[in-house]
């Protein structure tokens, strides 16, 4: 039986993601864990997160999980979700300026304010709801997910990786931004697969049978 660890570092509700992983693959052993040793024993690791980036980074430093995430990224498949994606970059504009893990070089930006669409109407921030995800290239995690499927988003910041080749998916609001990135063992998404109904469960199922690499 393969196992997946959902990293618990005190940032947000992990029950939704754990339940969705279990539903996507009933045979997989799903654990919500804070213990670094247990995280490093799992076959795959999910790095979720909601809230503010400074609290997130502080919690990772306090718990010593910062190093663990680096080790995971080098050794087994890692799925970053929402703040768990943003934390992988170099630096975020949120809370003034916050140093992040720098596992994927690049920055985390706030949507421009006011944000206007092509008709000059104001777009609300947070970007909240179902938006289309354009797959930029083939990847095992996109298997059986139709091009331009809608996933559920809720965020005010987005990632801007330095290297375009890591971009796996883009979404428009109204300008295109990176909503999925992949490099080596890492796949990270800005949207919430655990809240994106059938396509979200498919992505989680794909992750649970992925052995890393693109």
């Amino acid at each position: 039986m393969s196992s997946v660890a959902v990293i618990d570092y005190g940032m947000g509700n992990l029950h939704s993601i754990a339940k969705a992983l279990q539903h996507a693959s009933p045979d997989v052993h799903v654990q919500i864990v804070a213990d670094p040793q247990l995280i490093l024993q799992a076959d795959r690791v999910v790095f979720p997160g909601v809230g503010a980036i400074r609290d997130c980074m502080q919690a990772l430093v306090d718990t010593g999980l910062q190093e663990v995430i680096r080790q995971v990224a080098e050794s087994r498949p890692l799925l970053g979700i929402c703040l768990g994606m943003q934390a992988l970059l170099t630096e975020s504009e949120e809370n003034g300026s916050t140093r992040c893990l720098n596992i994927v070089p690049g920055h985390v930006r706030h949507f421009a304010t006011p944000l206007l669409d092509a008709q000059g109407e104001i777009l609300k921030i947070p970007h909240m709801g179902w938006n289309q995800v354009h797959q930029q290239r083939d990847h095992p995690l996109w298997r059986n997910i139709p091009q331009d499927s809608r996933f559920y988003f809720v965020h005010s910041y987005y990632v801007q990786p330095d290297d375009d080749s890591v971009i796996a998916g883009v979404t428009e609001y109204p300008e295109p931004f990176t909503c999925a990135l992949s490099c080596g063992n890492i796949f990270a998404v800005q949207f919430h697969p655990e809240k994106s109904q059938a396509v979200g469960l498919q992505l989680l199922q794909n992750f649970l049978s992925w052995d890393g690499g693109g």
């Binding site: 609300k124 921030i125 179902w130 938006n131 109904q197």
Partner: protein, 257 residues
Amino acid sequence: MSLAKRIIPCLDVDNGRVVKGVKFVDIRDAGDPVEVARRYDREGADEITFLDITASSDDRETMVHVVEEVAGEVFIPLTVGGGIRTLDDIRRMLNAGADKVGINTAAVFNPEFVRDAARRFGTQCIVVAIDAKQVNRPGEPERWEIFTHGGRKPTGLDAVAWAKKMAAHGAGEILLTSMDRDGTRQGFDLALTRAISEAVPIPVIASGGVGNLQHLADGIIEGKADAVLAASIFHFAEYTIRQAKECMAARGIEVRL
């Protein structure tokens, strides 16, 4: 391609059963919340909102179990409102599997509660529910005030100013209900919806008064709402969520089909 406007069915839950609505005197049983939620999910609901109208706080535990059960099989965002007064109430609902909580009366009595809640749990899960009623005399400029206790108690707070304040306090979204329209099936109060939606930078969910599918589209086009919420038109299979989305799409609104 762009962000879809959302349709959110609302389930009024009394002691573990879905009922037709607070405003109806003859409360009709509309079934098991888990089954109803499953049906809405299949029909393509974008989110589901539960409003706990259970009178006794002893029975609130029932709602926690309902949320747990729904969250185990329905993988779209779930919001729970009704009786959320403390940070602990929020934590219990989030741990049960809710993604957002609706705060109404508690915010009016203590606006700092919204700030504390947003700081603790993130703005994305704090929905401030606003019950507003028109208070201007005929001929005067339109003005709405906040009411509590199901629209019975006036607070003297201006609805537009209040919505702005709640957004500044960290609300991630506003659930706006017109007490004049709720239960009437005459459509949303579009002037109110538009006034609030244009005043705040965060998404606004229009609620109260939906009687047919055109009303939903009106809420988006004329009310400038980001999402529309309805209860009774979906409960008795009068219309399906799918029909509602097709109607909205026919009027040029981007939806998730």
